[in-house]
Subunit: 241 residues, 2 copies
Amino acid sequence: MLASQFNMGKSNLIFRQLFDKDTSTYTYILACSETKSAVIIDPVLECVERDLKLIKELDLNLLYGINTHVHADHITGTGKIKLYPTCKSVLGSKSGAKADMFVEHGAKLKFGNLTMECRSTPGHTNGCSTYVLHDQRVAFTGDALLIRGCGRTDFQQGAKEILLYNSVHSQIFSLPSDYQLYPAHDYKGLTVTTVNEEKTLNPRLTKTLEEFVEIMNNLNLAYPKRIDVSVPANLVCGLQD
Amino acid sequence: MLASQFNMGKSNLIFRQLFDKDTSTYTYILACSETKSAVIIDPVLECVERDLKLIKELDLNLLYGINTHVHADHITGTGKIKLYPTCKSVLGSKSGAKADMFVEHGAKLKFGNLTMECRSTPGHTNGCSTYVLHDQRVAFTGDALLIRGCGRTDFQQGAKEILLYNSVHSQIFSLPSDYQLYPAHDYKGLTVTTVNEEKTLNPRLTKTLEEFVEIMNNLNLAYPKRIDVSVPANLVCGLQD
């Protein structure tokens, strides 16, 4: 089944996808249209002014600055975005980093009349989380699942191919097939996918576990350019003293 | 009123926004979920393979390759995308360029069970068109209206500030305030806006006509890098002999 972004069931969600060209990172602003309570997912340090300007223009009240995980490719904007007075930084409980609030697998994050479920989807990093809005039939997958791809499994906490494979299959592919999936990155200009698309078209995760491990072990990826700057900063939520 | 992308009234629209980083151009794929009939708006030559791959993956039947106008910043993909057998290129009737089909102001373009209204919105170029899907409460504005901006008015067919101002006010700002607006470009990573947002926040088009002309006459924009290559190619719909 092909889902439409314009047909997401009952919805009082204000939604904005934002892009950082330098790192091909997607940031998301979500808000309850009734109360204006809002969250931002995976803000990028260099784009915080753009994001806060939009939040102000839309008259939103920012409650949470969420990182789906400790990023290795860019410095999170959550440290700076906390200049917004009501905003708390949020990370998965297994991230091993600093944040104002930690969310466990199965936890519900409420903003206004919206509820977002946190699902633990480790593999790319130990603390990776996927956030699901069931009423809107949409999930934010971070780097666990990308459009026709997935996050790498060879750094931060060591080789975790099996963990990632199981996370995606048990926590994301188990969602209804029409759910829209929004990733933390895309490098080809694609913006969104669906559970059904990735279950049928993902060139890695449609394979058997053994084939998947083989693929991931032979990617021969370069050492991430910004990892030595990004990870230490992101372990403290991007706060700069 | 703030509209949600997830609350677009009755909808059988499959919708994909695609981005070209080199030129910050947005391409859109729209399709009827019942019949799979599809159109593509403003494809970019260098991204045609990506676009056709997605069209094939989604099992769509491409009917039209639409250019909102004769672009000056990139070569259209419509010439190449016509390798897809059922696809016809479409341009506004006042564009002064080649295409398989020309649409007049007020014309309705049907694909499957969806209907898209063409509105003539000249100013950036003479042939600029905005395409409106009323059932989905969404419009594709090309370069007539950008997010917190608008297309330049100083090239191709001469100074056309008054024309652009009147186009936006009479054809776009006259739409219901919750309609989502998708532009042909954004240079800051924003993806969508609404009629209400631009009517209240656009720094140029909220001004009086006199102030708007003054602003546009003092932009001091550089000569577009690719105009001498792009416009001649786009005048023949990007077809390469």
